[in-house]
């Protein structure tokens, strides 16, 4: 009798401690969302490197009684610190910097203007978010989705609206993977066939001196002007300096391979872990996803409009299609400019020209984030 009693009490204790006893409908829905994101990442190959860990983190976050965010330290809590204390986004930027070639930008610096113009999407979405009831901090964090820059989106939302981090990160990375579908119709709608057929002049050769001095000078200038983004921009330019110096190949290799891969796993999983049912299953999430699309479309249109202006003022030397690459989805947006240009005129290679505004967009989005932090934080 005693054995049966002990057995029954133990079974009850196991049941009470299990996730099933506290499992809610919301957890079930979020696990399905996680599975859908996994499908998009691994079957449809939409940004699988990031969406994969985000999706799995989302599934993990919705198991009750795991104690991931309890008092005691554990691996998931440690990963979450990397996001809460803004450690991962700058480290990702270190790797991006080591992978980025600023030569197209240095060869034609005027394309920085296209990177600036494309930031209009950020502020269109910010206005839209405030119109539908978000406060100014939340609206700024949502707007930055339009910069098409995942690490900056995560960085800004952690600082201004941490409770929206999951929805903002998912929207940003989902739309970044959908750039080849979102941008071409807008590009065709806003440009004429003659504009799309413009063949741009070959870029001049950039010297090693320029490639080494640029990351140093720009870090000093921008970090002094906008200290809130010194970590992001400093890491971007440090990674680039590793690449361009020619004497730190091992550091460059580590930054653009091992380090960025490790941090990507942690950043993705940690971001997914913020997608608990309580914080994600709200009408706000749907609004954020809709506003993210507005932001992307606005950014693309802003870059194209400025591209058309530059085309006019330079007497037709600039193909406006490179303007859409001002959103900083590197190098996806530049590839889209190349694809649309080549469809209009086979043999018209815009890729290198579009890389200028594309990397300018990364700097532009970081500057926009820094300005908003300075104004709102």
């Amino acid at each position: 009798m005693e054995a049966i009693n002990a057995f029954s009490v133990s079974l009850q204790a196991v049941w009470n401690d299990s996730g099933f006893s506290a499992f809610t409908l919301g957890n079930g829905i979020m696990i399905l969302v996680g599975l859908l994101l996994l499908y998009m990442a691994f079957v449809k190959e939409f940004e699988p490197l990031l969406l994969g860990p985000i999706a799995f983190g989302c599934i993990l976050a919705n198991f009750p009684n795991t104690g991931f965010f309890g008092e005691e330290m554990n691996v998931m809590k440690a990963i979450n610190y990397g996001i809460t204390y803004e450690i991962f986004p700058p480290l990702i930027f270190l790797g991006i910097g080591a992978m980025t070639d600023f030569s197209p930008l240095l060869a034609r610096p005027s394309t920085l203007l296209l990177g600036a113009a494309a930031q209009i999407g950020v502020f269109v979405a910010l206005g839209g978010a405030m119109l539908v009831g978000f406060n100014v901090h939340e609206a700024a964090a949502i707007g930055i989705i339009g910069g098409a820059d995942g690490p900056t989106s995560i960085y800004l939302s952690t600082k201004l609206a941490p409770h929206l981090l999951g929805a903002i990160a998912v929207a940003a990375y989902s739309y970044m993977s959908l750039v080849p579908l979102i941008q071409p119709p807008i590009m065709k709608l806003m440009t004429t066939q003659a504009e799309r057929e413009i063949v741009m002049k070959e870029l001049r050769q950039v010297t090693k001196f320029e490639r080494v001095v640029f990351p140093i000078v720009s870090t000093i200038f921008i970090s002094l002007l906008l200290p809130p983004i010194a970590a992001l921009l400093g890491c971007l330019m440090l990674g680039n300096l590793f690449r361009e110096s020619g004497v730190t190949d091992r550091l460059s290799d580590t930054a653009q391979n091992a380090l960025i891969n490790i941090v990507t796993i942690f950043l993705g999983t940690g971001t997914g872990m913020t997608m608990s049912a309580e914080s994600f299953l709200r009408t706000d999430t749907l609004l954020i996803i809709a506003l993210g699309l507005v932001a992307f479309m606005g950014g693309t249109a802003g870059g194209l409009i400025f591209g058309k202006l530059m085309c006019k003022f330079t007497g037709g030397e600039i193909n406006p299609l490179i303007g859409s690459a001002g959103v900083s989805a590197v190098p996806m947006a530049a590839r889209v400019s190349q694809l649309v240009g080549m469809k209009s005129k086979p043999g018209n290679y815009l890729l290198m020209h579009a890389m200028g505004p594309n990397v300018a967009g990364v700097i532009g989005t970081a500057v926009a984030a820094g300005t908003m932090l300075a104004m709102l934080k």
Binding site: L105, L106, P109, S110, L112, L113, A116, Q119, I120, F123, V124, L126, G127, M130, L131, V136, A139, A140, P180, V199, M200, K201, E202, Q205, T207, K208, F209, E210, V213, F214, V217, S218, F221, I222, L225, L226, M332, R335, V336, Q338, L339, M342, K345, P346, G347, N348, Y349, L350, L351, M352, A360, I363, G364, V367, A368, T371, M372, M375, L376, K377
Partner: protein
């Protein structure tokens, strides 16, 4: 240090931010020009005879037929390959793009590589 926002009017926020973004990036344009100006390693401008030559314009490939592409290769990969080849001055010379079968033993792969090098 946290403080309350200066303004919550989205239009004013947009105007201020876009102005700052443009000012910073325009300043960067001038910094890049300054770096180019002071660059001690840059090539000296060529003599007048060279200036008379028409500037290089990527028009060699005008009307070049699109390459024959094997099924299963994404258009963006074709775009990247074509652009990389064009960057080396061979615009319009991509005739076809095929997937090289990597299946088989490492010995087979090594033999293929050696054959390619001999060619």
């Amino acid at each position: 240090m946290e403080h309350s926002p200066v303004t919550t009017n989205p239009l004013i926020i947009m105007l201020i931010n876009m102005t700052v973004v443009f000012i910073v990036l325009v300043a960067l344009i001038y910094l890049i020009k300054l770096i180019h100006f002071v660059d001690p390693t840059k090539e000296k401008p060529k003599p007048a005879q060279a200036e008379e030559e028409e500037p290089l314009v990527a028009v060699k490939s005008e009307g070049a037929p699109p390459p024959v592409v094997e099924e299963g290769i994404k258009p963006e990969i074709i775009a990247a390959i074509s652009a990389a080849i064009a960057a080396y001055g061979f615009s319009g010379q991509v005739k076809a793009v095929h997937i090289i079968n990597h299946e088989g033993t490492p010995w087979r792969a090594s033999a293929k590589f050696n054959n390619l090098q001999r060619k």
